[in-house]
């Protein structure tokens, strides 16, 4: 009961934040009726998906302060579990997705145990490596389609068992539901014992240890939570794209985007990952298609993208939300 109350209680946020959340939610709810084109719909779906990824990353990367750059492997695990179980055994999404999450949890515990012997940069590099290794395995593994990837058999629209739809509107509400589930979970997480302990570890690991916190175990737990989150998103990606390969769901690029968006928005804050995704997903898409596609300036979008990240991180390491909080503290 206490857990549920904590999860649904947003009352400790400021009035402005709560109003913004309500307006944002209304906008989302009505979004499919705003008559936007399919390109915009895709961007918004991507935004919600990356917000979900970012929230997951935020547990270990934000609250725990560990530079985690290997989340793509869990996107892959989630996506491949859903895809393969459907192709091989015709197992519906609602069974295969939780199984994917369980596999991600198990795998993350196994990987996390040795991984968290490392700290700082070494940890960051190691997370990249584990993700690359898994990607390489999938690229060469014939049974799971190797580099060619797998196509999901297409079902008649609408199929709520396998979550396959012709219209983006369905996918939109689907990912929106997952997004809100993630949001509510994070609202609980930030007030949980683990949330507090992780923030202490981030601030001062030695002091955390002296307060009876098993730092390594806490990090492993947070890492697994993050992995589970991301695996849910991966499962969604499989039924949304209906085609996955190791390059689209396990790439280093994806890992870095997940971490960057959360960091740019503001790590260790409730809204940071959402703000980060709201900036970077559209920027990524619009700049990519406009500059790259229409103007023939291929690669310029990446320069703008990178410059923006550098400017924000130089000005305020705690990201866009950090800037907002800075102003709020000044006003107080």
């Amino acid at each position: 009961m206490e857990t549920l109350r904590d999860a649904l209680d947003f009352s400790d946020f400021s009035r402005a934040e709560r109003v913004a959340l309500v307006l944002f939610s209304l906008l989302l709810l009505l979004f499919p009726w705003l008559g936007t084109g399919s390109f915009v719909k895709t961007v918004v779906i991507q935004f919600l998906l990356f917000s979900l990824f970012g929230m997951g990353w935020n547990t270990i990367g934000g609250y725990g302060g560990q530079v985690e750059l290997g989340k793509a492997q869990y996107v892959g695990i989630g996506a491949y579990t859903v895809a393969l179980m459907m192709v091989w055994w015709k197992i519906p999404f609602w069974i295969s997705m939780p199984i994917g999450v369980l596999i991600a949890l198990g795998y993350s515990f196994i990987i996390g145990y040795p991984l968290f012997r490392l700290k700082g940069h070494y940890f960051a590099i190691a997370t990249i490596c584990t993700s690359l290794v898994l990607q390489d395995i999938f690229i060469n593994w014939k049974l799971v389609g190797a580099a060619k990837g797998i196509e999901l058999p297409i079902h008649e629209h609408p199929d709520f068992l396998y979550m396959q739809f012709k219209s983006d509107t369905y996918y939109f509400y689907f990912i929106m539901a997952l997004f809100y589930a993630g949001l509510v979970y994070m609202n609980w997480f930030r007030k949980s014992k683990l949330g507090y302990q992780l923030r202490m570890i981030k601030d001062d690991e030695e002091a955390a240890q002296s307060l009876g916190i098993d730092a390594r175990w806490c990090k492993i737990k947070a890492y697994s939570i993050a992995s589970a989150f991301v695996a849910v998103g991966g499962g969604f990606l499989a039924v949304y794209n209906l085609y996955i390969d190791p390059y689209s769901v396990m790439d280093l690029d994806l890992s870095i985007k997940i971490a960057l968006m959360a960091m740019l928005g503001g790590a260790a804050s409730m809204w940071g990952p959402i703000i980060g995704a709201a900036f970077l997903v559209p920027l990524d898409r619009f700049l990519g298609s406009w500059l790259g596609g229409q103007r023939g300036l291929i690669g310029v979008d990446f320069m703008i993208y990178s410059a923006l990240i550098m400017i924000v991180s130089a000005y305020q390491p705690r990201g866009i939300w950090g800037i907002v909080e800075q102003f709020r503290r000044r006003d107080r």
Binding site: E2, K191, K202, D203, D204, A207, Q209, S210, L211, G212
Partner: protein, 238 residues
């Protein structure tokens, strides 16, 4: 009963040091720089593993246990130099300590507030560590260690960086903690004004060896201690 035996071999920092602390005592550990005080301290709380010898706490051997485990056994500690970060407020810092013994946030908040009230820090609860003067930072360190409900509290140079007035405050505070919370205190200290008035027993280290142990009165008259650490002036003044 707290029964602490230490016996190192091979470590130059601490050479065959053994002593006991009884429950409810206040023990001071003094010695010149490099005497091995902090090493000894770290061996007890688990940051270092002693090469040989045993640490026994309440009849249970805790040698080589990790710091978070020794804390769960009932040993709290403070740090000489606290990392001052902007990540958490004072209340949140103390809550982390309280979370050591509970799963519920409401309980953690209540216990943290009790301790903040006890130490007179309730007005600072919304501040971040980096916004506080050093004396208050040290008290927060004390508060969060107390929140873990230790039976033995080990204080690493709790008065370093404090001015005489603040030092006096701190001594009074330590006395109150000892009396009202019934916690055994073990102080590593450079500042004689802290050790001498409150310690019931003082242990002196020099070059990794225990050179004296006894009542503060006796220690200041001890030849070896005067030579190694206190200097003639202090002994006369006492």
């Amino acid at each position: 009963m707290i029964d602490l035996i230490k016996d190192f071999g091979g470590v130059i920092a601490n050479n065959h040091i053994s002593f006991e602390i009884d429950q409810g005592e206040i023990i001071g550990l003094i010695g010149p720089n490099g005497a091995g005080k902090t090493t000894l301290f770290n061996c007890v709380v688990g940051y270092h593993k002693p090469d040989s010898g045993k640490v026994i706490f309440k009849g249970k051997e805790i040698t080589g246990l990790k710091p978070f485990m020794t804390n769960r056994e009932g040993i709290g500690r403070t740090f000489q130099i606290m990392k001052v970060t902007a990540g958490m407020t004072v209340l949140e810092n103390v809550m982390v300590g309280a979370f050591c013994r509970t799963e519920h946030r409401a309980v953690a908040v209540r216990e943290a507030m009790e301790i903040l009230n006890f130490l007179g820090l309730e007005e600072l609860k919304g501040f971040h560590l980096n916004e506080l003067p050093i004396a208050s930072q040290k008290k927060v360190g004390l508060a969060r260690a107390l929140a873990t409900k230790p039976e033995l509290l080990m204080l690493d140079e709790v008065a370093s960086g404090l001015n005489p007035k603040e030092t006096e405050d701190m001594v009074a505070l330590l006395k109150r903690i000892h009396q009202e919370k019934k916690i055994t205190l073990f102080l590593i200290e450079h500042v004689m004004e802290v050790v001498m008035p409150i310690s019931q027993r003082v242990i002196v280290l020099d070059s990794g060896e225990k050179i004296a142990e006894g009542l503060p009165k006796e220690i200041v008259k001890n030849e070896r201690v005067i030579k190694a650490y206190l200097g003639e002036k202090y002994a006369k003044g006492f």
